[in-house]
């Protein structure tokens, strides 16, 4: 009989913080600059330079901690992690070791409709390393670019609380959503601004002790995290089935081959010799600062979704779609609040069927569609001046030009006729021109209602307000 195993996963996530300058110096963090131009004496680790902590970094770390229910340490310490590598200018990385800025938090994830709480051990601050290029110029050499060196990172270490690749992926997505929502990280796994290492082990179901774990690296998408973990679990199960043991090691995921490879041969026994950085005094965070940040903390996606469902009476699905992106959620809510009578659900439909598509396809021009513009246009829908379909076309024009809404509508000839007198006149004429159909309708052929509507719309060049046309027609046909 084969033993059944339980998977145990803990994740270490590195998120680059979206500050202007580096964590310990005033060099720029801008992505994509020419090699080594985002450097200064501190970044380059020149003799005599000293680090000075960026307050923006601390603020973002506190926000991350608050959003993940962590305790914010009133006093935390920077330590040096010593090792040699060409992308590490000082020969040590400034990180936090014994006293990190955030500890003991959690977030809730949802897998297959089940909620689960995942513990967060700690979130600490550290500096990123530079980059090595292995295939530039002469192949006997590697090339060092230190633009990324000193970019601020937070490392979030989870408890070993996840039991499947799906849970790990859900945790990772949720964490990313939180950081993106907070505006502290752009969450791009492919570009490396959001990176994940996974500690994976298995143990017989019911056993308390953890099995020996492998650390998985180099997974640059959510999909690859799942694949790598699934592969690792199978690998470990196969080893144990063969009567072999799992060795503690670091393994690199090779997405092309769909396998992970041991890094053991390349890795020397490391002894990082952590000690408190004498150049940096303790980071003191006073309670008032935390309180201020707590009060200015944005509502997160999950809370926002619940509130939208309750306050605006929209379905869960709509609420989740709208709140997936903080800027869209805020955009939508502002629009809805600016309207008088249009149902929130209708506005939600407009966003989901049309505006989200515009945002995705033409993000550069989407900025022109402010909530104010949406409100201005939807007011015209409310007052019956234009239809929702017309509104969509107007929105397209708003995105594509700087023209005023009124001018767009005028140019398109989008003037919806809601004036009762005009409509009655036209309807009377339609009825008078079609005596046979009128008789048939009155004789019970109610399907012909649509015919009369169509004739009326046609007579008015499609600009009649369909709702008003319906109302008048019903009244007239009854009499």
């Amino acid at each position: 009989m084969s033993i059944s195993y339980e998977t145990v996963i803990g994740l270490e996530v590195h998120a680059q913080l979206k500050t202007e300058s580096k964590i310990f110096s005033a060099a720029s963090t801008q992505f994509g600059a020419p090699p080594n131009t985002n450097t200064d004496p501190v970044t380059l680790g020149l003799p005599g330079v000293l680090p000075v902590l960026n307050m923006g970094v601390v603020e973002m770390a506190i926000k991350a901690g608050l959003a993940t229910h962590c305790e914010i340490a009133p006093r935390s310490i920077f330590a040096r992690k010593n090792y040699f590598y060409p992308d590490l200018p000082k020969g040590y990385q400034i990180s936090q070791f014994e006293l990190p800025i955030c500890q003991r938090g959690w977030i809730n994830i949802k897998v297959d409709g089940q909620e689960k709480k995942i513990g967060i051990t700690r979130i600490h601050l550290e500096e990123d390393a530079g980059k090595l290029l292995h295939d530039f110029g002469d192949s006997d050499f590697s090339h060092v670019d230190l633009n990324r060196a000193g970019v601020p990172l937070i490392e979030t270490v989870s408890e070993p609380d996840m039991r499947s690749a799906a849970e790990a992926s859900a945790y990772l997505k949720h964490l990313r959503d939180i950081f993106v929502y907070l505006g502290i990280c752009d969450g791009n796994m492919e570009e490396g601004s959001f990176r994940c290492d996974a500690n994976v082990s298995i143990r017989p179901v019911g056993q308390k002790e953890f099995g020996t774990r492998a650390e998985l690296k180099n997974m640059n998408s959510f999909r690859n995290v799942e694949r790598a973990i699934e592969y690792e679990v199978k690998r470990q199960e196969a080893l144990l089935a063969d009567g072999k043991v799992v060795v503690q090691e670091t393994r690199l995921w090779n997405a092309d081959k769909g396998v992970s490879e041991s890094m053991r041969s390349k890795e020397e026994a490391n002894d990082y010799r952590y000690f408190p950085d004498p150049d940096l005094l303790p980071l003191i965070v006073d309670a008032k600062w935390v309180e201020r940040l707590k009060n200015s903390q944005p509502e997160l996606a999950h809370e926002k979704s619940l509130r939208f469902q309750k306050d605006y009476n929209i379905p869960e699905y709509d609420a989740e779609v709208l709140t997936a992106d903080r800027s869209i959620a805020e955009h939508w809510e502002k629009s809805v609040q600016g309207l008088k009578s249009l149902e929130a659900k209708k506005v939600s439909n407009l966003y989901m069927t049309h505006l989200l598509k515009l945002q995705k396809e033409t993000p550069e021009t989407f900025e022109r569609i402010t909530s104010e513009k949406v409100i201005e246009i939807l007011h015209l829908v409310e007052s019956g001046k234009i239809s929702l379909n017309m509104a969509k076309e107007v929105l397209d024009e708003v995105a594509g030009s700087d023209k005023a809404v009124a001018d767009i509508i005028a140019a398109k000839g989008f003037v919806q006729i809601s004036d009762t007198a005009t409509l009655e006149q036209t309807i009377d004429k339609v009825l008078a021109d079609n005596p046979d159909n009128l008789a048939a309708y009155k004789g019970g052929k109610e399907k012909l209602f649509g015919f009369f509507v169509g004739q009326t719309m046609k007579a008015l060049g499609g600009k009649a307000n369909p709702q008003v046309v319906n109302d008048i027609l019903k009244k007239k046909l009854k009499s």
């Binding site: 003799p47 005599g48 330079v49 000075v52 010593n82 020969g91 040590y92 010799r273 000690f275």
Partner: protein, 486 residues
Amino acid sequence: MELHQLTIAQAIEKLAKKEISSAELTAACQQRIQQTESQLGSYITLTQEAALAQAKAVDDRRAKGEPLPPLAGIPLALKDIFVTKGVKTTCASRILENFIPPYDGTAVRKLIEQDYVLLGKLNMDEFAMGSSTETSYFKKTKNPWNLEYIPGGSSGGSASAVAAGQCLGALGTDTGGSIRQPAALCGIVGIKPTYGRVSRYGVVAFASSLDQVGPMTQDVRDSAILLNTIAGHDPLDSTSVNRPVPDYTQSLKTDVKGLKIGVPKEYFIEGLDAEVKKSLENALEQYRSLGAEIIEVTLPHTQYAVPTYYILAPAEASSNLARYDGVRFGYRSPNAKNLTEMYQKSRSEGFGPEVKRRIMLGTYVLSAGYYDAYYLKAQKVRTLIRRDFEAAFQQVDVLLTPTTPTPAFRIGEKSDDPLKMYLSDIFTINVNLAGLPGMSLPCGLSSQGLPIGMQLIADYFQEEKIFHAAYAYEQATEWHRKRPSL
């Protein structure tokens, strides 16, 4: 009196009165260097043309009646640990033999803002690791009082140059006594200010929690003048303290009536040279006669300072010196065939034996399994040493001790015995561990004609008390006027 013998204060006055020009003064120092440098070996780099050009520029501006800062046109020199933009900065190491920094450190920038004249960069122990300036990759500096003796270290080039009149004053750095010990052995005044008083930005780091910059000068007034210039908060140094800088020349008073001077009994130990002891007793007598009150105090953990220091300083140094890897600047071994060899050969060929010894020690005490026993333990003892001083300063204004257990020793005498060399810092190391200000000033000459120094220590940011006590003593004695006959 020759121009190169002027104190900074005298030179400032003569320049202001236009009795002399900066060009004359600078040329006088350069001539003195030319006469004596082959014997002394104080300098690693001379900036001759730039110095004269700067002196002339200041003279021109003075002639035009432009307002000038106090140190304008004063020829000074810097220990080669100060990062100077465009001027080679070697730290007396092969690994930085050709390093030309692209920036200026903060203390240097403050001197530049004063329009000072830089004569050159001074010899030192490699990376400031040493007490005799014998570990320099380039040369051994001699004591101007007797060329067979060491000038002290690590700021030995600075002390030698100031004592010999090769510059009017200099800046040094002090991690375990590197300003005060050579000042004592060369018969000049050297102050290590409170940790955090002077910015460390642009000073090549040895042990970051202990390093501090300070002036090395012919007398106490010059010391105050230079400290006025370089002290103060620097946003580029997180450990620099934001506290107003007083005008230290205002503390130069001769009346010490009622001043409480503490004498720690632990400093008068076996192994203290009899002549040094005698000089200290004479100094105490001098103070007594000036009306100061002498009080015996105890610093019970004094004996632990040297072992504590030689755990903490090498630990920090092992990490601080990791950046010398041959990647971005400095020496890269031409013999390296791969990346591992690039690291190992560049560092092994680039660093001298004492530096390697300290890197090894520091790496060891931080390594897994030993951290608690050595590093953490030493940090705790450091707390005890700090508390000793805190208790003492409840009772007294300043402490008076010998700066060194003996006058200068012979070149080569201790260079093969690291531990013996380390013990020569026994009286100065405590002050760095506690972070306190301390000054060495001349208080005697041995029967062999070698200078003897005494050390004044005050509480945090109480440099004014040191200047006060030092100036009163100096004015009452003649030691500071003695100069080597070179």
